[in-house]
Symmetry: C2
Subunit: 203 residues, 2 copies
Amino acid sequence: MGIIQRKEREKEEMRRLILDAALRLFRERGYDGVSIRNIAEAIEYSPGTIYLYYKDKSEIFFALQYEAAAVKRDHLLPVADIADPWERLVEFGRRYVDFGMKHPDLYDLLFITRAPMEYIENQECWKLGMATHAFFQETVQACVDQRYFKSTDTETIAYTLWCHAHGLVSLFVRERMRMYPEEQRQELAEKSFAMIVKMAESL
Amino acid sequence: MGIIQRKEREKEEMRRLILDAALRLFRERGYDGVSIRNIAEAIEYSPGTIYLYYKDKSEIFFALQYEAAAVKRDHLLPVADIADPWERLVEFGRRYVDFGMKHPDLYDLLFITRAPMEYIENQECWKLGMATHAFFQETVQACVDQRYFKSTDTETIAYTLWCHAHGLVSLFVRERMRMYPEEQRQELAEKSFAMIVKMAESL
DNA sequence: CTTGACAAATGAACAGTGTTCATTATATTT
DNA sequence: AAATATAATGAACACTGTTCATTTGTCAAG
């Protein structure tokens, strides 16, 4: 009785089709710039069909946000193998920024977009993000434990470093760096990352 | 011939009426959550009337963004009187963050919202923002000149500090601090500001 | 094979959106 | 008071997210 399995597979393929089209369109025109009809047209189905696979537009958003969180986790994963906590922390930061620069649309989805946040705590995506954040805090804690910093306020250190990284990426993603010539932006971001690392060394 | 003056005044009053209503509604429900019909209803006029005073919805947005930039400038203005560049810089940062915390909706308008950015360079608001940014960079330059930092890379220093401040405020404004208990967020932000100041001292 | 049952896809319909414009109402000038 | 100029209207257009009765397609049983 492989029929229900095939049906399940087809259902999954359809969801994939919708998500791929939605992500591509969201990338190009933003969440509000894309209509269900646009997505339907892109996959050559009628608008009503979308609603057989996702209960509304925000659920498509949440599905994409979850995938973004997974991409981010995979991007950060190799860091876990680094034994030295300070090196691990620096590499975590580098990869965090790198993820944001390489996938501005996904970063936006995760950390900037105002989409229905009300019940985000209940989403799978939130748990994934919390796990990553916990890993980050543990790394900072390990640095504190091994006296890499003068300060012992793990939470504030972690938060301060996050603020810088998020500020760096989000100014870039939301195009608030227009006062700097375009070819200079990437370099400035790298210099700033190096600087915050230096600053953290004497923390 | 006071009639045309009165007409001009009435026109100005009408624009004020629209902006006040729009800001209140944007605050409550965000740019996309508010329709022209909502604004019209709020001021008890028909939708078409709005278009006699603003050519489209984005122009209302730009007008509000300009006002936000003016509020921000006024909030930062007292800083200019501080003679010592380091003290001036710290106070600038404190007030920048304070502005963001006190006026999250205006901060959002200025530094986060994705509204039609295409021609923002031509807007009055942009010039205002550029002037403030220039003042900030000059203050950092003054610190560099007086050997407050070991580093002499003014641009990177200014940008790094801005990244932290923007990250701090925007994580707050876009509700990405839910992993911290609400009553702790304000305190954490203050601690982080103090920490970046300490870090900057040994820059 | 045909029939009946179930699932999938449709597209018209509803209430909303930004925006335009011919029409109506008001105010000013002659 | 009549003519003119300005201001406000609200219906109309093409769009939006979403629902649902209807049609189409698939598959097992007779």
